[in-house]
Symmetry: C2
Subunit: 355 residues, 2 copies
């Protein structure tokens, strides 16, 4: 059976002040009326039934997750007692899946991305599943053909073709500098690593056992508690002992039998406020507005407000303005990463309560 595992542990400073420690990015509704995590669930419906949909989230976010995804039963919402990056997260999901379905194939998807063309997505996942059926030892990644020389993503270099559907992975590349990113874009053999994976749960557990003994030992210690009332207590004790490491570093960059499949769906990591310019239509002056706003003599701005508040711009260009009931951000556009400086300044000034 194909199961989906939605990774939803994000901390969410990128969309501050809309996202908060207690309300990270995956719960945001940036377009339409479904939050990002709801969209992650929706995009596998109906071809992955809800009983095969899993979410791994942080303990503190379990309630919000349940509220957003009422069709997923409590037993399918795994709660991390501590943040340990993606390897322990995926290991935990694989352990739970395997106990229920030893032959399970898992589709791992981040909770905070936007994917359009859902038919293409389903087809691509089917192709990935076939690659795994053909060779159950295979680990399949999705690669997004780059549309610009992005420096914020890791890249996957493709090698020999594996039939029409995919390629062997030739190499993984760290986030490149601009020049390198431009050369990746030119060659046409590099993809963005979008963090979407398909593999047998049994297979990823084996890989973790081989490369990350501390994670594997933790998972094995958890196994007797599966389906028991002691599970969450045991998890609270064991999970924090696992190595905090990404699945890419822990497994993918160390294994041989890795395939990359070029995504035919369109993908956006929604990495920060700039993403709104890709998700929402601009007005005649290039302003993108989510909520209520009046823009006077203003151009190329991104505005987020609510239905009970009006944001007004006057003579402003290239700005991001985000209003929430207790915090407002006004930023010059161009550097989504710089939001970290705001977070740091707020901490320094004792404004932690707004984080």
């Amino acid at each position: 059976m194909l199961h989906s595992v939605i990774m939803a542990g994000g901390s969410g400073t990128r969309f501050w002040p809309l996202s908060r420690q207690m309300f990270p990015k995956q719960f945001l509704t940036l377009q339409g009326n479904r939050s990002l995590i709801q969209q992650a669930f929706d995009r596998c419906q109906p071809w992955i039934p809800p009983e095969c949909c899993w979410v791994v989230t942080a303990e503190r976010l379990a309630e919000l997750t349940r509220k957003d995804l009422p069709l997923i039963s409590d037993a399918r919402i795994l709660q991390e007692p501590a943040a340990r990056n993606t390897a322990p997260c995926i290991g935990l999901a694989a352990l739970c899946l395997e106990a229920i379905d030893p032959e399970a194939t898992m589709l791992v998807i981040p909770a905070d991305q936007v994917i359009s063309d859902l038919l293409a997505f389903e087809n691509d996942v089917r192709r990935a599943e076939r690659l795994v059926t053909d060779d159950p030892e295979r680990l399949v990644l999705f690669g997004v053909p780059p549309s610009y020389p992005a420096t914020g993503f890791g890249y996957i270099e493709r090698g020999n073709p594996l039939g029409p559907a995919g390629y062997e992975v030739a190499s993984f590349r760290e986030k490149p500098d601009r020049t390198t990113a431009e050369s990746y874009l030119q060659t046409g053999t590099f993809y963005w690593n979008c963090g979407i994976f398909v593999w047998k749960s049994r297979r990823i557990l084996q890989a973790l056992a081989r490369h990350e003994p501390a994670i594997s030992a933790g998972l094995e210690a958890l196994r007797p508690h599966l389906g028991q009332p002691t599970f969450q207590t045991a998890l609270a004790e064991i999970f924090p002992t696992m190595t905090s490491v990404s699945i890419d570093y822990a497994v993918l960059e160390r294994e041989k039998n890795i395939a990359v499949l070029a995504a035919s769906f369109s993908w956006d990591d929604v990495g920060g406020w700039e993403a709104l310019t890709r998700l929402l239509p601009p007005d005649a002056n290039g302003n993108v507005v989510l909520g209520q706003a009046a823009c006077v003599d203003s151009q190329d701005c991104i505005v987020r407000s609510t239905d009970t508040h009006v944001v007004t711009l006057l003579g402003v260009k290239n700005c991001i303005v985000v209003q929430t009931p207790d915090a407002t951000l006004v930023a010059q556009r161009g550097d989504d990463e710089a939001i970290r400086k705001v977070i740091a300044a707020l901490k320094e000034q004792g404004f932690d309560r707004y984080l």
Copy 2:
């Protein structure tokens, strides 16, 4: 006796979104803990006793006025049933004062200015009072020595000296263009007309009778209702029939015996958000903050927030950011007048409820 008359009928779009139709500028607290109207009252204490302090405001603002000025009795808070500019406003106050004190001298001051050096203010008012005592037919204006070539004020040209304290008025000048304003500044014989006046109430009523028969007739029709329970009803009927005209145009520019007294206090009309840069100290990067803010890589901004909200700036220069619970303004600095465009846009977009 010297009475003060605080003119507090302002409509207040200049400080939108902090000021509103139902909460105009005079009620704002922009520095310290006293609103502008409270400061107008305070600056005549204790040398004008509260029973000699009068306020003329709009009916809809009477409650706010009472709340801000609890020491002023209800009978001294005159409520205009309609906006009719300053001539009817001052005429109404003069009528009420004269009935109580036929020899009353009135100090007329706008409710929405900032005056520092209160001792100088008191001394200046005493000097003005003396000019009126010397010649009870005299109408005295305060002139503020210009500190820059302002184009937003009317100017008063001084003529022959009247002893050490003042000058005859040689002429009144409309708001000048930049070049003219520069020449006014150079000559040293021009003052800003700051709308502060001292005269006998009887005298200003005579002047209105001479130049504005419709206003005078209205006031005479009101006279029998003074101190009667019918007063407000009569006012509601009569006041709207009075000509809407400024005291400057109605009387001052038409009379001969006008004196100007050079203000030795420092004066600010608080004409818009730019005023905050004159009223509050900037931080090391030139940012002026009223309330809570974190400014990162930002310069020369004016920020207004509240104690339960934080405004954050990132890489922003020369901006005005004003946060209120239901409306936010983000404007490029440099043109306080342009706020009108925002008001117009809000009306056009059906956002009248935020005005």
